[in-house]
Symmetry: C2
Subunit: 229 residues, 2 copies
């Protein structure tokens, strides 16, 4: 996570390096490349029809993102996320998400609040019907809106990084109707606290929300996902 800016997000779409970067990242996060898999510059370059140069540059970025580890003169290896890492990230996120909610009280725009309300309303619909695919999507978007509303590029970028870093495991956290409904209700309370500009309450609710998400994840299924470690 080095990295704490977001300027290259546009450029990445149009340069070869950016496309390679996104492709590999997706393949790692989706599970196509597994922990300790070796990524070879030539192989990936050929697969995507580009030379080694953009692949190398993408590798360097992926290393800073923490998705791969480069051993000099040897190769690039996919790094896994350990259970401890996941726990750490959730604890860190919990604190930062609270900060983010607090700041959002002051800086959120009307349209952002409206999108949140719409999001929550729609999520209720899907949660009741067990549409977990859509729930995951809506949940992601809710937090994204929150991040974009804190008026701090630093914090926004940091949280987005973490958010996508645990994407692999996060899918599981909303996989019951019960948790989906509870989570959505928590979203609503956070939104209302922000709307009321109740800083302390918003901070606390957001903090607890992430804690709950983590607890729920631990309760059902995180262990299996990592049982082969």
């Amino acid at each position: 996570m080095g990295n704490y800016d977001l300027k290259q997000e546009v450029t990445d779409k149009y340069s070869l390096r950016g496309r390679v970067f996104n492709k590999i990242r997706e393949d790692i996060l989706s599970g196509k490349y597994k922990e300790n898999d070796e990524l070879k510059e030539i192989a990936i370059g050929e697969e995507l029809g580009v030379s080694r140069t953009p692949v190398r540059e993408a590798f360097r970025q992926l290393e800073l993102e923490g998705l791969i580890q480069i051993v000099p003169n040897k190769g690039a290896y996919v790094t896994g996320i350990s259970m401890n890492d996941v726990k750490d990230i959730y604890m860190i996120r919990s604190k930062l998400e609270g900060l983010c909610a607090a700041w959002a009280c002051e800086h959120i725009t009307e349209s952002a609040l409206e999108e949140m309300e719409e999001n929550i309303y729609l999520a209720k619909f899907h949660a009741e019907r067990g549409h977990f695919e859509q729930m995951a999507e809506l949940d992601s978007r809710f937090h994204e809106i929150l991040y974009e509303s804190c008026n701090s590029k630093m914090l926004e970028h940091l949280l987005k990084d973490f958010h996508q870093y645990v994407q692999r495991v996060r899918k599981k956290t909303l996989s019951t109707t019960e948790r989906s409904l509870a989570s959505n209700h928590e979203h609503q309370m956070i939104m209302e606290a922000i709307k009321a500009k109740n800083v302390k309450e918003a901070e606390k609710l957001a903090t607890v929300h992430i804690h709950n998400a983590y607890d729920n994840m631990v309760k059902n299924g995180l262990k299996e996902a990592y049982s082969n470690e």
Copy 2:
């Protein structure tokens, strides 16, 4: 600070890319390259006696670290740290440093505690005599020990990143005997809370410590440092 790992720290010393990366980073943090300065691949390559390739790779990493911004087909520009960024970082650090101190209660080693005590003792000596150079050094080291004692590579790396990110402005924060002594006393209280495994107290003290550091910095001199913006 994308990047949230620390694997390449060793490799960086021995590869050209790593050396270029460190050199440019230092030059930005030390102020040799100023905000909006344009960094040209060829010029820097020639200055360091390497070709464009390692320079380009270093640029990509620096971009993820947020120190430069790369505009496609145009150039790389030094990104400044605005007063708002500094404030954000301190607020974020405040939270995370609290978390770090809390975790350290459980995981700190005897030898780390001893080094802390020594650090505080020595710092008192230098603070009383106005040796600000040594104070800055000792202060940095104190926090580093703390970071290394939380038993989370994630959090450790994150805090180290932030710490060096504000290095430019941080020097000013210890530039009075008064603040030096107060800061050192805060270090001592944090250390004692950790030693006593008083989690809540350690967290609170560490959080407040960073807040104080920020307040002090704002009080004397941050504005001037950025008056040309």
